[in-house]
């Protein structure tokens, strides 16, 4: 994993650790929404590409969220 991808994975997981425990929302949806709202398209494309290569390092709800991102960029 490149250091660039590593950083994105870390950032996505950080988001995941906030939304994971929330009770009012579905974590994966909330994570995907957050990334969609605040990440530049290139970053989003990069994390989706990372998912396509196996998504190493993505925590479970984040993994799910990136899948949703891929389905609806």
């Amino acid at each position: 994993m490149s250091s660039y991808d590593g950083k994105l994975v870390m950032m996505a997981n950080q988001i995941g650790r906030f939304y994971g425990p929330q009770k009012q929302v579905d974590p994966a949806t909330a994570i995907a929404t957050h990334i969609r709202k605040f990440w530049d398209p290139r970053m989003r494309a990069a994390i989706v590409a990372h998912l396509d290569q196996g998504g190493v390092g993505l925590d479970p709800p984040v993994h799910k969220a990136v899948e949703r991102l891929k389905a609806a960029p």
Partner: protein, 952 residues
């Protein structure tokens, strides 16, 4: 143009709602109960002679000039200390009073030098005025008696002199230092005829004393005893213009007192609603950078950063910027360039920069320096309350009963607000300080925190959860407020979460290093002590859980019902003068003005119609993302207005790498800052004295900035941006910044009512300012939250990945000091260096001893990001295991040490937690030496019409 004269009512305003009617010199007057006779007289235009009274401090009754006669009462009471009473009949001028006043003035003048013509206060001296007012014609005591006229001046303070020979011992300075500033640095030494104003102990001069040079004493002095050195040198000003300070987020109003285009002095403006006539050393005195010799006044360019700078015309510079940016977009794509707006520039300037980027560059790669300070505030509060801003005005603190300060050091970073807060604390409000350091607020003159929770850096969220745990499990929830104003389901989910044992003070206390009993005590006090107000700073936001902590603060305010009225609220103390404004103005890559997401088609289209350009509907890059993309080779051009990203952003090595990877870096600033070392075009900026505009302070207050002198560079910053836009084919035309504000108001619902005309009338307004609130909104969320119901979010504590270990066993946290501002670009170029010449590392005695470090030793400070060296000072203000430094000096390069870890939601850097090691050192590090050599090389400016290279 003339001088802005402010009426001195002699005594402070009474806040009583009861009204009292009395007769003064035959005129009926009705005033609030508790008003002094002096002030009531002034209300009707009757000026009772006075010297010791001034309306910034409580009545004192010492000069004995303001005596009056009251029908039916014996004697001649002082009108300053005597309150009005119903039906009172007062005479301010009788033969008896005239005789006493003349007698008192005769005594004053018998001990005063007769050098009026050469005195700095000539023309602005209350003693002179009063001698005239009482008709003193003769001093029968002569001038050969005992006197003070040969005392020596104290010129130690760089900005003002103390000349005791001119002192009339009215104690206004002493009282201002106590009542207005709250420092208690001054006293009267000796008694009787020997009485003398003295800064602290007898061996002290002003500079060595506890004086913080706020200027309150100078402001209060009725004679030339305390005078600005600039006034002594230049002479009395002939006109003045009210404007807004360009330092911190308090946004103090000042009168720029001028002689022609020369600034004589900056005087705090009494009607300024943020500062109420007070000031600090920066705003009051540290404006000399505006004409510092290092200021760059001509545009400059170079092909590459190893070349010297070459001065060019404005046209040439602007053309270069436009052509380079266009070239880069052609070669690397539309997204390959972007820009950064400045929280130091005006709203109007910020607006046109983001407009240039969105409309002219055709992308949303715009961000602002708020990214690295308060971005978590915006996001966190919008999620909880629905608005990205603090909830109160500064006046609100006057009604607070319990004040909680988290991760903020107002006496250093927001001094003028700190003074107002300390005044309230001296009146009896209780205080809770949550900070790893024992800041001066924890214990200072007449102030002591009820609780200080000295938490381990990085454990904010855990501590706040523990406070919430106490409130929820001990039955201290404000049920009525929660029921009425908050989302019930969210509250219940949250309450269940905080009640869990891992959030108990006992568990959290262990990991945060805080006494659980103190956590419980603080929680009970905040929940039950009356109006509870939370003030916080970058110690909250600049963490990997910055946003989470902001939400946790919002949760605390909601669960206790401390929101929606005066005296309470959630109050971010903004770092820079226009952080709030730059965020409001659509500086963030994902949103347009008023915090509206760029993907909102209907809203975006209104801008597209107005600007005549199609706008990108995808969020752009944030500052740290820009660096990453630059290193990846996808981001090539950057326009930076008024921010020194190299010095202020974390992980300097990373920033250097990013800047070096770009092909066109354009820096617009007053000085060749550190970022400029890697720049290709330099556009000289204008100071706040040289342009019109507005700043929005931490309380959402929109204040006018007024031009008092012609830009020394020929261009205001907004004009430069417009010129670039035009050169890139995006013509935006404004004749004056007021037209930019008109556009902002038209396009932004929360600003709909704002105009320069309104600001002219009202002085300032707090947004939202629109049809619903035509004069602005001092306190938000009254009667309900902007988002509808208050939202409790679960704020689980997630320890940062930045962990101590055997290699880096200490935690570094950073902050500011009073006399310096941010990266110091301005303050380092003023006499403020008298107080803070260099950054030093605070280290606990225990840690110092283990490492053989003594006071003043050079130490090496290392983290996984880099290393630097600075001098150590040994103090128990920091806990064992924690070290602290400021980041004002580029020589220190504190950000070489900080890492690129950041807040989960906003990428706000985690400045406040870095694992480090400290070891003895002989002097500056290898990095510092190389850096300085590079900087020196890079700052060369080629002499005009000559091949010779002159070192700057």
């Amino acid at each position: 143009m003339s001088l802005v004269h402010e009426t001195d009512y002699g005594t402070p305003v009474s806040k009583s709602t009861e009204r009292v009617t009395l007769t003064i010199d035959g005129q009926q007057v009705t005033v609030p109960a508790g008003t002094s006779i002096m002030r009531a007289a002034m209300d009707t235009g009757i000026q009772v002679p006075k010297l010791c009274a001034t309306d910034s401090v409580d009545a004192f009754g010492s000069c004995r000039l303001c005596l009056v006669e009251i029908q039916g009462r014996a004697g001649t009471p002082a009108s300053c200390t005597t309150p009005v009473a119903p039906g009172m009949v007062v005479s301010t001028q009788t033969d008896r009073l005239k005789k006493i006043r003349k007698g008192v003035m005769e005594l004053y003048i018998s001990d005063h030098p007769l050098d009026c013509l050469t005195c700095a206060a000539n023309g602005d001296c209350e003693l002179q005025d009063m001698a005239g007012a009482v008709g003193l014609r003769d001093v029968r005591y002569g001038y050969n008696g005992e006197n003070h006229t040969r005392q020596e001046k104290d010129e130690s303070n760089p900005y003002f002199t103390y000349d005791p020979s001119k002192c009339i011992v009215c104690s206004r300075c002493v009282r201002a230092c106590e009542e207005v500033q709250g420092t208690f640095a001054l006293t009267i030494q000796g008694r009787g005829f020997e009485s003398k104003v003295s800064p602290g102990a007898s061996f002290d001069d002003f500079l060595s004393s506890e004086c913080v040079s706020c200027g309150a004493c100078v402001q209060a002095c009725p004679t030339a005893t305390l005078s600005e050195k600039s006034l002594i040198e230049i002479g009395q000003p002939e006109h003045s213009v009210v404007t807004t300070c360009a330092y911190c987020g308090v946004g103090c109003s000042f009168k720029a007192e001028m002689r022609g285009e020369e600034l004589v002095r900056m005087v705090p403006y009494k009607d300024g609603k943020a500062n109420r006539g007070h000031s600090c050393v920066k705003g009051r005195f540290a404006w000399g950078y505006a004409h510092h010799k290092e200021r760059i006044l001509k545009p400059m360019m170079r092909e590459s950063i190893d070349q010297p700078w070459r001065e060019v015309s404005w046209d040439e510079a602007i053309d270069r910027v436009a052509s380079e940016f266009k070239r880069l977009q052609q070669k690397h794509g539309r997204l390959a360039i972007g820009g950064i707006t400045s929280s130091r520039c005006t709203n109007e300037e910020v607006y046109v920069v983001q407009k240039l980027i969105r409309g002219g560059f055709g992308n949303n790669n715009v961000d602002t320096c708020a990214r690295v300070c308060h971005s978590p505030t915006g996001f966190g509060l919008s999620q909880a309350f629905g608005t990205s801003a603090g909830t109160q005005d500064f006046d609100s603190v006057e009604e607070s009963d319990v004040i909680v300060v988290i991760g903020a050091n107002p006496p250093d970073a927001h001094p003028v607000f700190a003074s107002r807060m300390k005044k309230r604390l001296r009146q009896g409000a209780r205080l809770i300080v949550i900070d790893p350091r024992r800041t001066s607020l924890v214990k200072s003159a007449h102030i002591e925190a009820d609780y200080h929770l000295p938490l381990r850096p990085g454990t904010n969220a855990a501590i706040l959860n523990a406070l919430a745990h106490t409130i929820v499990t001990e039955g201290l929830v404000n049920e009525a407020f929660v029921r009425e104003h908050c989302d019930r389901d969210a509250f219940e989910a949250w309450a269940e979460f905080v009640a869990q044992p891992q959030n108990s003070p006992e568990t959290v206390g262990l990991l945060a290093g805080v006494d659980p009993a103190a956590i419980r005590g603080a929680a009970r006090l905040y929940a039950t002590g009356g109006n509870g107000a939370i003030y916080y700073g970058l110690g909250v936001t600049e963490h990997s859980q910055g946003t989470t902590t902001v939400m946790a603060i919002a949760n605390l305010a909601m669960v206790t019902g401390n929101i929606g009225r005066k005296g309470v609220g959630v109050n971010p103390l903004r770092g820079q003068n226009n952080v709030q404004g730059s965020c409001d103005m659509g500086s963030f890559p994902h949103e347009l003005t008023g915090y509206r997401h760029i993907s909102d088609d209907a809203m975006r289209e209104t801008f597209e119609v107005l600007w005549g350009r199609k706008l990108d509907n995808e969020p752009g890059l944030r500052i740290p993302n820009m660096f990453d993309e630059a290193i990846e080779g996808r981001y090539k051009g950057l326009y930076v207005q008024g921010e020194d990203i190299l010095q202020s952003d974390p992980n300097t090595a990373h920033v250097v790498k990013a800047l070096s990877s770009m092909e066109c870096v354009v820096v617009q600033d007053l000085f060749l800052n550190e970022t400029a070392n890697y720049a290709h075009v330099f556009l000289p900026g204008a100071t706040f004295l040289e342009k019109d505009g507005t700043f929005t302070n931490a309380e959402r207050r929109i204040n006018r900035v007024r031009k008092v002198m012609t830009p020394k560079t020929g261009m205001g910053d907004w004009e430069i941006t417009i010129a670039i836009a035009k050169a890139m084919g995006f013509d935006m035309h404004y004749d004056h910044p007021s037209q930019i504000m008109d556009e902002i108001a038209r396009m932004t619902p929360t600003f709909a009512g704002v105009s320069y005309d309104l600001l002219e009338r009202e002085g300032s307004v707090q947004w939202p300012c629109n049809a619903k609130a035509p004069l602005g909104t001092p306190v938000m969320h009254i009667g309900g939250f902007v988002r509808g119901k208050g939202n409790f979010l679960i704020t689980e504590y997630v320890p940062t990945d930045e962990k101590t270990g055997p290699r880096f066993p200490l935690l570094l946290t950073t902050g500011r000091i009073l006399s310096q501002y941010n990266v110091g670009a301005q303050t380092r170029r003023t006499a403020n260096v008298a107080w803070h010449k260099e950054d030093v590392l605070e280290i606990h005695p225990h840690d110092a001893e283990q490492r053989g470090v003594r006071e003043g030793d050079w130490v090496r400070l290392q983290s996984r990001a880099g290393e630097t060296a600075l001098r150590a000072t040994i103090t128990d203000r920091v806990a064992p295991g924690v070290v602290y430094t400021t980041f004002h000096h580029p020589d220190t390069q504190a950000n070489v040490i900080t890492t690129d870890f950041s807040d989960w939601a906003t990428n706000c850097p985690e400045y406040k937690v870095t694992a480090v090691q400290v070891s003895p050192s002989n002097g500056p590090s290898e990095w510092q030496r190389e850096y300085n050599a590079q900087a020196e090389h890079s700052r060369r400016i080629a002499a005009p019409n000559s091949a010779k290279i002159a070192a700057e």
